[in-house]
């Protein structure tokens, strides 16, 4: 560990974090009360999409905070520290994530989701692609396995940070993190998670701005700082550390594929009306701009303060402890926790909705009644939280494999089937299935260096090319999608009832 935390500082940090935790528990219990009052028939709908009544601030945070996780708070600044400004520049590509996710598919998905009662991200694929069993199973497995692994990685990162900043044990940190997510997600469903996310987003914003201002204050005139960094290691200050081709590919990963990530696109199922959605875009863009600018840039400036940090991911906590009074450093910890828990909360809801809607309700027990579904919803969400906790205690090595491929794999695999499904009448289940498998496989082969196909870029680019070609060509070579589905997804009038013959 490269930063020393005195005992009095630890106590201040613990107290600040405790206040944050109590806030989270209050939110969870309040949301539980709301869910307890919900009629059994509506429970699943309320649990997963909040009755589609969410307003602008909530939607804005749900997109932004779900997508910004430990990556934005720890890993990203860590890379900014080690790689430099060229990485920070790539980070800027994510600023408009609310704009791209909501602006590209938000409104049409909002309309169609109401027509087909989509409660999970995968429901959209299942509806558009004719209940295709392969897509259902592939979707369920990839979401549960990849997002599950990603969640474990988030927990591990968060608990380690908690341990080093407070001096309390790693396991206690895990229990705390998992417990807070469980209370908000399992008891409150998406409303619990969404409320928590707003609270976390506010904490994230305040902590980020505080840290940024304190850092700039500490450093003084930046030109001198940059000259000093250049004399240490010029590669930190020039964009040419990465080739233009590689930089461009990073902008594809962080700027374009977000609709392919279930936890980011989830908000399209929940927003109340287009006015809220539009406001959510503007709010979200400003939040992400502030977080990205402040955090990742600060990480690169950290090179000046800590030239020899061994573990780059520690740059943000190191800076926090150096430039902030202890209770504000505790706020930074709360901010990181908020970023992690907001992402985890959304992912838990996604995993749970995918399991309950697309595995249990569609494949295991289609005739389940509302009471059973309510029980299954709560129980499976609890089991998911507990399972993630257990895996985080001593993460298996295979996990690292899954995590590396989680975001790129899911994004490359879902992007074209979703975008083409929404806007191209000819996209059918066979094309989508081919595109999903092709995208995932190509990404793993490229990113894992099993095949030299990345062409000097992030593997997502080649994976997207393969996935797009497959989706289009296979769709054109196979029969059109059923008329009823196209009417529902494109038509003015659509079949509300299909009679059995």
């Amino acid at each position: 560990m490269s930063y020393e935390v005195s005992t009095s500082s630890r106590i201040a940090i613990i107290i600040t974090f405790a206040v944050y935790s109590i806030g989270m528990i209050a939110i969870g219990l309040y949301s539980k009360k709301s869910m307890d009052r919900t009629a059994v028939e509506k429970y699943v709908d309320e649990f997963y999409t909040g009755g589609r009544g969410m307003g602008a601030l909530v939607v804005a945070m749900m997109v932004a905070a779900s997508l910004c996780s430990a990556g934005t708070f720890l890993g990203g600044p860590g890379l900014a520290y080690s790689v430099g400004l060229t990485w920070v520049m790539a980070g800027f590509s994510q600023i408009f994530m609310n704009f791209t996710v909501l602006g590209e598919i938000g409104k049409k998905v909002g309309i169609v989701a109401r027509r087909v009662n989509a409660q999970s991200y995968l429901d959209l694929f299942v509806s558009r692609y004719n209940n295709n069993k392969f897509i259902g199973i592939f979707g369920v497995l990839s979401i549960i396995l990849f997002l599950g692994s990603y969640v474990v990685a988030q927990f591990v990162g968060g608990a380690r940070l908690f341990e080093s900043m407070t001096g309390l044990s790693y396991t206690f940190g895990l229990v705390l993190f998992a417990g807070l997510v469980l209370i908000t997600a399992a008891l409150g469903g998406i409303k619990g998670v969404a409320t928590a996310i707003v609270f976390q987003g506010i904490v994230m914003t305040i902590s980020v701005i505080t840290l940024f201002i304190a850092t700039l204050n500490h450093l003084g005139p930046l030109q001198a700082v940059y000259k000093e960094i250049i004399s240490m290691d010029p590669s930190v200050v020039t964009p040419w550390t990465w080739t233009p081709k590689y930089q461009f590919s990073m902008w594809v990963v962080y700027g374009l594929v977000y609709i392919g990530l279930p936890h980011g696109a989830m908000a399209t199922l929940t927003y109340k009306d287009t006015k809220s959605m539009h406001k959510a875009i503007i709010m979200g863009v400003i939040f992400v701009l502030v977080w990205t600018l402040a955090l990742i840039w600060t990480g690169s400036l950290g090179r000046f303060m800590f030239p020899d940090l061994k573990v780059a991911d520690q740059i943000i906590p190191s800076i926090a402890i150096k430039v902030l009074p202890p209770w504000l450093a505790g706020l930074t910890l709360a901010g990181v926790a908020g970023a992690i828990q907001s992402t985890v909360g959304s992912m838990v809801i996604i995993i749970s909705s995918t399991f309950v809607r697309n595995a249990y309700q569609s494949m295991i027990n289609p005739k389940a009644d509302s009471k059973t579904l309510k029980k299954v919803t709560i129980i499976s969400t609890v089991i998911i939280c507990v399972g993630i906790f257990v895996l985080s205690i001593n993460p298996p090595d295979a996990l690292q494999f899954m995590i590396t491929f989680a975001i790129g794999g899911l994004g490359a695999s879902f992007f074209w089937p979703l975008l083409l499904g929404v806007y191209w009448k000819r996209a059918n289940e066979y094309g989508a299935a081919a595109g999903m498998v092709g995208g995932m496989a190509t990404y793993i082969l490229g990113a894992g260096n099993y095949l030299p196909i990345s062409m000097g870029m992030n593997a997502t680019v080649i994976a997207l090319i393969v996935s797009g070609l497959l989706t289009v060509c296979v769709s054109m070579a196979t029969p059109k999608p059923p008329k009823g589905i196209i009417m529902t997804w494109f038509g003015k009038s659509y079949p509300k009832v299909v009679s059995e013959q």
């Binding site: 030109q223 040419w240 594809v252 503007i282 008329k483 009823g484």
Partner: protein
């Protein structure tokens, strides 16, 4: 609708009357995508042009290396553009298919 009509795959997709809201959604999707792509290209071009050469020879604007200032400036400008587009170009619309709302299903700003 009868099951066999729902699952028919021999129809002509052009025969389906498209909801006017969806036509707008597609236009907006293309606009949004174009903005993000434009933002990408401009940032990469500016950064790699202004950032050429030995960093010890960099010129500075407001304390930042020139190319870095360029990237930040472009990001701020595009943020303004995006806000403008959302406020003035994206159209409000009804999310339901209530018959009574059909007349004003698409509300112009």
């Amino acid at each position: 609708m009868k099951k066999e009509e729902f699952y028919d795959t021999n129809y002509n997709p052009e025969d389906i009357e498209v909801d006017p809201r969806f036509i707008i959604c597609e236009k907006e999707m293309k606009l949004v995508l174009s903005i993000q792509i434009l933002f990408t290209i401009i940032c990469v071009v500016i950064a790699y042009t202004l950032g050429k050469g030995d960093p010890s020879n960099y010129s500075y604007i407001m304390g930042f290396p020139a190319w870095w200032f360029g990237v930040i400036a472009i990001s701020v400008i595009f943020t303004v553009i995006v806000i403008y587009i959302v406020k003035f170009k994206l159209v409000d619309m009804s999310l339901t298919d209530d018959v009574s709302e059909e007349k004003d299903a698409v509300k112009e700003k």
